[in-house]
């Protein structure tokens, strides 16, 4: 029996991580895996820290990922990658957008945004792919395509899933008129050499 793999998607409420988890869920189900996707709704959506768990394997039990369990953390915002670092396996990988969004305590001066987070995580021996997703998404045609840039990079770590399957998943979950744009964003993220 294959071990369950764990992907966490983290970010700031309103950044659009929902599409990323929907696409992953669709893809993995089509590939024949048992899949669980779990998220939290309600008050935490209002600009707060949000997290989605995607788990797949032969048989998945828990809907959540706990500390020390994530194979990959996909992060829409740098501070959120650092916040959930303890959920990563010791040999896990972080795929993060380098965008910084100040949380309210930083905005009002009650706390400061830690500097050099990517270097500090690497210094702890964490594998980090840090990408300027916003520029790539804009290159693809919309700032909203950050999620597909991140998924493009993430696809490197799914060796057994062919590119066609990703394309089919994009076609299945993205509205028709945005398919080409999203495929382009995915390709840009995928082509990126870290």
């Amino acid at each position: 029996m294959k071990k369950t793999r764990n992907i966490m998607i983290v970010g700031v409420g309103g950044q659009g991580s929902l599409l990323a988890s929907k696409l992953l869920g669709h893809l993995l189900l089509e590939e024949g895996y048992d899949v669980k996707v779990s998220e939290v709704h309600g008050m935490s959506q209002r600009g707060g820290s949000v997290v989605t768990y995607v788990r797949y394997g032969d048989k998945v039990y828990s809907p959540v990922i706990d500390e020390g369990e994530a194979d990959v953390i996909v992060s829409f915002e740098l501070l959120e990658a650092a916040r959930y670092l303890s959920f990563l396996k010791p040999d896990g990988r972080i795929v993060t957008n380098t965008r910084q969004i100040d949380p309210m305590p930083v905005i009002i001066g009650a706390a400061s945004y830690p500097a050099d987070l990517v270097q500090k995580m690497r210094a702890k021996g964490v594998k980090v792919d840090a990408l300027d997703c916003l520029s790539l998404a804009e290159e693809a045609g919309s700032a909203k395509a950050v999620n597909l840039v991140l998924l493009g990079r993430l696809s490197h770590y799914f060796e057994d899933i062919e590119e066609d399957a990703w394309d089919r998943a994009i076609e299945a979950v993205v509205p028709q008129r945005f398919v080409e744009l999203n495929k382009k964003a995915f390709a840009l993220g995928k082509a990126l050499k870290e």
Partner: protein
């Protein structure tokens, strides 16, 4: 068809397949999507009710008329609907009636962490508890069967992790059971003392019959019958080959709901498990039989020790809350830690990571009201909704939040207790949907018992926090079709409130003037702060503002409104590296700002530029919002 469905969507699918004809609910995280998803099936008449009590009574009426009915709510909603629930237990049903209640262990979006199982026990109503989407679908259908077979409403208990997790389900066809025509039966349906006294023994007998049914279901299962309708409770004996030492104590775990998933995650087949799908009434014989087959029994359940205490009352030696937490939701690591299994560890940075609490959105119409209330040093008694975020720094302008409607009732009591002295500095603040839910009766109390209280209704034309549901003030129903629309001004006036004013919260000077005026007035006042939620589809946002860095003095006046789009940064023309003493100027995040112009009114130096003349506008809305 095999598909990935959210737990709530799986319940909705179960409603569809069970031939449910009527759904009435009030939105509440994490239960909301059950009803939103059910509304997508044309075969189901689906409605948002003003509150959970009304919803449950409407569903009861539908079941009485002979159609299968459902009503959904969050855990605290069941407190509101407890009144009909406790007596529906006595009347029983005609066609099946199922009540979905979603608990929120961990309080992701709730004001308390109560355990709904107590309601099931107290009301003497059966409760089923699915542990994933497939069970959510199956148990929903089974709940209708049980409801009709045992003449009882049935509670279907969800929780955040089952409601908001997607897992694989196999969907089926819709089967509408034969209608059960309504028949007059005064002795059964009119609960006056003489009749109720005869119904109470029926309830007690029913609990015994249900207990026997859940026990018998297991025995049939043990004999090889795999019919899904009877495997609510099941035993999974451990795989002896996987136990490392033949001398290892045989661990037996009694569990249910999402806790079952955590237990399986940790132990796989190394422990024996009694998995309960029906948590009320509990199967006494099965619990006893299971405890007898293992060396050590541990009950793994979220929140209160309901199953554990039941086992102890049966004289069984079990462990539970002595090793597992009573507070917060469980997880695989918490279960592993309690049972001395290996717990994975992650890495941590040395830096303190600042928290990221939820905030009012940029352009949120509530912001101007809370800023003004804070400026006037008002005591603000608040309510349940997005606007509870008015309590968060830097606004910090809400001092009480209890439950739906409490702002209106409490401001009256507060002012009466001080002999009216506090009335000039105290307000109750409530949203439009919350006012419809439970604020109206509080206002009736103010009008009747006459306090000089001021109530501010934050009318953002939608139920915001649960994700944009319509309500009786919006003019649209759950399907997005035009519906009845309650006129808040006329309603307040009809209750006898003479001072009713309307203000645009984007206009700070006017908001300040009205709040000052109305709090000073003798007699009750209602202020309606009216601006649609900026996230609504019919709202047209304006272009983002900019700060002229040469005009900004860095005075931070605009920071007092707590807008997530504004922050203080170094002057963009700064040529040397910034230090902690470098003067800073306000900067507007161009991706977040929607041009509400509230910050402009805070600035004394005309530093804000690029505002549009009309600001944010909104059109008459139509169609669906969520």
């Amino acid at each position: 068809m095999k598909t990935l469905l959210q737990g709530n969507a799986a319940v909705a699918r179960g409603l569809y397949e069970a031939g449910c004809a009527f759904v009435s609910s009030y939105p509440g995280t994490p239960s909301t999507e059950i009803t939103e998803e059910a509304a997508k099936y044309d075969e189901i008449c689906c409605e948002w009710a003003p509150n959970e009590k009304v919803a449950m009574e409407a569903a009861f009426g539908a079941c009485l008329a002979g159609k299968r009915a459902f009503c959904g709510m969050k855990h605290v909603g069941l407190n509101v609907a407890a009144d009909p629930l406790f007596t529906m237990s006595y009347t029983g049903v005609n066609a099946g009636l199922v009540i979905g209640v979603a608990d929120d262990a961990g309080m992701h979006s709730s004001q308390n962490e109560q355990d709904s199982r107590h309601h099931a026990i107290a009301a003497k109503v059966p409760m089923l508890e699915p542990s994933d989407s497939a069970e959510a679908l199956a148990f929903t259908k089974l709940a209708f069967e049980i409801s009709e077979r045992f003449d009882t409403p049935v509670l279907l208990k969800m929780c955040t992790r089952v409601s908001h997790s997607q897992s694989v389900v196999e969907t089926g066809e819709r089967m509408v059971p034969p209608e059960r025509p309504y028949e007059k039966d005064i002795a059964k349906y009119v609960m006056m003392p003489g009749n109720a006294k005869k119904r109470h023994p029926v309830v007690e007998d029913r609990t015994k019959a249900l207990r026997a049914y859940f026990e018998a279901g297991f025995q049939q299962y043990k004999e090889g019958d795999r019919d899904v309708t009877i495997v609510l409770n099941r035993i999974e004996m451990r795989n002896e080959e996987e136990v490392v030492s033949p001398f290892a104590k045989h661990l037996g775990i009694i569990t249910s709901s999402t806790s079952y998933q955590y237990v399986k995650e940790v132990f796989g087949n190394r422990a024996s498990i009694l998995k309960l799908g029906a948590v009320n009434p509990l199967p006494d014989e099965l619990l006893t039989e299971f405890a007898g087959e293992v060396d050590r029994v541990v009950v793994v359940e979220e929140l209160d020790p309901v199953i554990e205490e039941h086992c102890k009352a049966l004289g069984l030696k079990v462990e539970g809350k002595n090793i597992l937490p009573l507070i917060d939701e469980l997880s695989q690591n918490k279960v592993a830690y309690a049972l001395r299994e290996q717990v994975p560890q992650g890495k941590k940075l040395d830096d303190a990571i600042p928290v990221r609490p939820p905030v009012m959105c940029a352009g949120c119409p509530h912001r101007g009201v809370f800023y003004t209330l804070g400026k006037n040093k008002c005591v603000v008694l608040g309510d349940i909704g997005c606007y509870t975020l008015g309590a968060v720094a830097p606004l910090s302008a809400m001092e009480m939040t209890l439950c739906m409607g409490a702002s209106v009732s409490a401001v009256h009591g507060f002012n009466k207790a001080t002999g009216g002295e506090s009335a000039k500095k105290t307000v109750g603040v409530i949203g439009d949907s919350t006012f419809m839910h439970s604020g109206m009766t509080g206002l009736a109390n103010i009008a009747y018992n006459q306090s000089d209280s001021t109530v501010i209704i934050l009318d953002n034309s939608i139920t915001g926090m649960t994700g944009h549901q319509d309500n009786p003030t919006t003019g649209y129903n759950i399907k997005g079709d035009p519906a009845g629309k309650i006129d808040l001004e006329a309603l307040c006036k009809a209750m006898g409130i003479e001072n009713v004013s309307v203000v645009d919260p984007y206009d700070l000077a006017e908001t300040d003037r009205i709040i000052k005026e109305e709090t000073q007035k003798e007699g009750p006042s209602v202020i309606i702060s009216r601006r649609p939620c900026v996230l609504l589809k019919n709202v047209r946002t304006a272009k983002p503002l900019r700060v002229n860095p040469d005009k900004c003095t860095g005075c931070t006046a605009c920071m007092k409104i707590g807008c997530p789009a504004i922050s203080m940064k170094e002057h963009p023309a700064l040529r040397v590296p910034a230090t902690s003493t470098t003067p800073r100027v306000a900067v507007v995040d161009q991706t977040l700002c929607v041009g509400c112009n509230v910050c402009v009114q805070m600035c004394h130096f005309d530093a804000y530029e690029g505002m549009s003349k009309e600001g944010i506008t909104y059109a008459e809305r139509g169609g669906k919002q969520s």
